[in-house]
């Protein structure tokens, strides 16, 4: 009778253990977040940081993904990635889908799958208000027209050989140059023209829609199940009017879109998001406001990014120092194949750009040997592998500058070659190379900004992002420059101290215990 409860408990546990494994897989499909890749620097109305609070993302694609994720019962997670690298980033599994004004083109369809189009638009010509003779591409003969690099607009312009094309990385500078008279017109996707051309008091949109382009959600070729789910969800969102509401809120509902979705019902949805954008855009700030924004919004974000830079640089340098020492020893003392390999490695790494090495590690390794490194690991590994080659040469120079007689004295005492290296040669060599190694470390802190190409948000990347919001490259630039300087300073001081402390020539300093 006493045993009964325990007996029951045992049965319960047994049943649980049988049931639990069946419960778990049933739960997991709903739980993984929906990671979506986009470039917040691309700007409005797709995805852009809120001017009031730069850590918050706005845009019609943010709203679209939120609706989509809700439909799929998954949590949306935004992954920042440079626009140029969106497709490679998708292929190495940094995110599950791309939603970032990605035009469906036959070239891209070779590499990835696209959902059914979620937006259809066209190219829009923008000119200065005082220009009256330009209303079509034919009118632009002999004129200078700005556009975005590698866009449909650029391809359309290239079909007109008598138009002089200026290709830009970002829309802001293009429209600014148009306003300043450096360009005669700008041709870009209609949503961009609406948000950056039409909102500029000196510019106006002119002419008929040019060409047609469809934005699709990008997916990996193998994710066919997800593709079907997303297409079904898009269908649902179209049918229940959610998509249309989103586009209307952003003032992006055009007759062409209505025709595409075959949805011509009248509607009373107000373009609130568009109006909010106009309001914050027109907001003129006093310098006190700006200062406040620096202190409250920008500084915390920059400090966070600075911590990434520090962590990245420190871990890369520690690894570079260790690996570099190994390389230099192999090059100097190892048996033939190893010595040659070390030399080859050093020369190969020093002879190629860091940028190429990073892209290789991040994008080519997955194709080559199926190793997919996270951005952090790839960044640290890339910097460490690169700097190890330079450190190896520092150490080699240091080791070679230790007189041969030191090795002889150690050997004569009965040490093995390795013992002599470890206890006599390397400790002296390390002291000698403190200045060049410090130098390299300062370089590494600055070179760490290169890793932004593999989707790492560090100090320089964050600076670009924040400066892009208000076009404030000056103020933030000074802040970031000071930050880099302050990051490097302690290490310079530390190195100076170590150099004095470990100096081999002690004549300048008093002995520890002088009788």
């Amino acid at each position: 009778m006493n045993k009964t409860p325990i007996f029951l408990l045992n049965i319960l546990l047994c049943l649980l253990s049988l049931v639990a494994p069946r419960l778990l897989p049933a739960q997991t499909p709903a739980s993984p977040p929906l990671r979506w890749g986009a470039d917040a620097e691309g700007g409005a109305p797709f995805i852009f940081p809120d001017r009031q609070d730069p850590s918050r993302m706005l845009g019609f694609e943010v709203d679209l993904v939120a609706a989509l994720a809700a439909q799929l019962q998954r949590e949306p997670v935004f992954v920042q990635n440079q626009w140029d690298g969106l497709v490679p980033g998708l292929r190495i599994d940094n995110y599950d889908i791309i939603v970032n004004g990605l035009e469906i083109t036959p070239d891209r369809e070779q590499e990835i799958n696209f959902s059914t189009p979620y937006y259809v638009t066209f190219e829009q010509l923008t000119v200065r208000k005082d220009t009256h003779d330009l209303n079509s591409l034919q009118d632009c003969s002999g004129r200078i027209v700005g556009t975005l690099k590698a866009s449909l607009a650029e391809r359309i312009l290239q079909a007109h050989p008598d138009i002089e094309i200026r290709s830009y990385d970002g829309q802001i500078t293009a429209y600014e140059d148009l306003a300043l008279g450096r360009l005669d017109a700008v041709l870009m996707d209609h949503p961009i023209a609406l948000y950056y051309g039409a909102t500029n008091p000196r510019l106006k949109l002119v002419g008929d829609p040019i060409g047609e382009m469809k934005y699709g959600i990008g997916l990996r070729k193998e994710d066919t199940a997800l593709l079907q789910e997303i297409n079904r969800a898009l269908e649902e969102l179209t049918a229940n009017g959610t998509l249309r509401t989103i586009y209307q809120r952003w003032n992006l509902w055009t007759p062409r879109l209505a025709a595409f979705f075959n949805d011509r019902q009248p509607s009373n949805v107000q373009p609130e998001a568009w109006q909010a954008f106009l309001r914050t855009n027109r907001l003129e700030r006093t310098w006190q406001d700006k200062l406040e924004q620096y202190r409250l919004k920008y500084l915390p974000l920059l400090l966070k990014a600075a911590m990434v830079t520090i962590g990245l640089s420190l871990s890369a340098m520690i690894l570079a120092i260790l690996f570099g020492l190994l390389l230099s020893l192999l090059r100097l003392y190892a048996m033939q194949p190893f010595s040659f390999l070390a030399t080859f490695y050093i020369e190969a790494v020093r002879g190629t750009p860091l940028l190429v090495q990073l892209l290789f590690i991040y994008y080519a390794l997955p194709q080559l040997i199926g190793v997919k490194l996270s951005p952090v690991v790839a960044a640290v590994a890339g910097l460490a592998l690169n700097y190890a080659a330079y450190e190896a040469e520092n150490y080699r120079a240091g080791i070679l500058s230790i007189p041969r007689s030191q090795m002889e004295a150690a050997l004569a005492l009965g040490m093995t070659r390795w013992q002599a290296l470890r206890h006599v040669i390397i400790p002296q060599a390390l002291r000698l190379v403190i200045p060049p190694v410090t130098n390299d470390f300062i370089s590494l802190i600055k070179d760490s900004s290169v890793v932004s190409v593999i989707a790492m948000v560090e100090l320089t990347r964050e600076y670009q992002r924040l400066a892009g919001i208000d076009f404030d490259y000056l103020g933030l630039g000074v802040v970031v420059a000071v930050m880099y300087f302050l990051i490097g300073l302690p290490f310079v001081r530390l190195a100076g101290w170590a150099e004095r402390k470990f100096s081999l020539d002690k004549r300048a300093t008093a002995p520890a215990t002088n009788p």
Partner: protein
């Protein structure tokens, strides 16, 4: 007296050449325990190379070296050095203390660490034991008060005495000196020679390459005259210095005495 002592160093038919320059041409030498042997001869005669061959800082081309019961032998220059040869080399080196012309102390270590560290590394001696022994040896060479100085804070004579203490810390059976006072100011020479004299009185077997003829005459048990890569003659200093048997020895000594 000397005939009662066992032979500690025995060298037979030692050859060594650098490229085509024959530096040693079949040297034979026997050194008895407790003896102090001085090697003299003109520059480039091979006496330093001979000393360096004894503890394999230069690997002999051909010949046989026995020190303290360990024998290294090589039939011909073309004979590859075996693993066994290298292992024996290390054992032999711990048995042979070497003192260099330029001291070669380890500049990143204090005097004390210079003396205590090698036995810890090579013989696995405990730090406390090594330290006690090192302080003892530094006291013996008159550097007890300089234990915590770095080499760059010592005079040449002090550095060389520290180097002798470092070699002694390995408890060698034999001490080799390669022109130990050549780099010293004349005023500092005696303090180093006195240490060697003291070791001789304690019964250390020593070979010294030097130009200090006074030291050779007063302290050596045997003087060996080297020229042209071989021993010309050897004998007690009284005979070599007063009535050398060979014309070459006579000519050399005339320049120095």
């Amino acid at each position: 007296m000397s005939s009662t002592n066992p032979v500690v160093i025995s060298v037979t038919d030692l050859h060594k050449s650098f490229h085509h320059n024959q530096v040693l041409r079949g040297v034979d030498l026997q050194v008895e325990a407790r003896e102090l042997t001085v090697l003299i001869g003109p520059s480039g005669c091979g006496k330093s190379t001979f000393l360096r061959c004894l503890n394999c800082l230069e690997v002999m081309d051909q010949g046989r070296i026995t020190i303290g019961g360990i024998t290294l032998e090589r039939r011909h220059k073309s004979q590859a050095l075996s693993h066994d040869f290298h292992a024996k080399t290390r054992t032999l080196r711990t048995n042979v203390g070497m003192v260099f012309q330029s001291f070669n102390l380890f500049p990143h270590l204090t005097t004390l660490e210079n003396v205590m560290r090698p036995p810890m590394v090579v013989k696995g001696l405990a730090a406390a034991t090594a330290k006690a022994r090192a302080l003892d040896l530094l006291g013996k060479v008159g550097l007890a008060s300089h234990a915590n100085h770095y080499p760059s804070q010592l005079s040449g004579g002090q550095q060389q005495r520290a180097a002798i203490a470092r070699a002694l810390a390995m408890e060698p059976q034999v001490m080799l000196y390669d022109e130990p006072t050549s780099a010293l100011d004349p005023g500092l020479v005696d303090e180093v020679l006195n240490v060697m004299k003291q070791l001789d009185q304690e019964g250390m077997t020593q070979i010294v390459v030097t130009h200090e003829m006074r030291f050779a005459r007063d302290v050596a048990d045997k003087v060996v005259y080297f020229e042209g890569g071989n021993i010309v003659e050897s004998g007690p200093p009284s005979r070599i210095f007063s009535s050398p048997g060979d014309e070459r020895t006579r000519k050399f000594l005339r320049k120095y005495l």
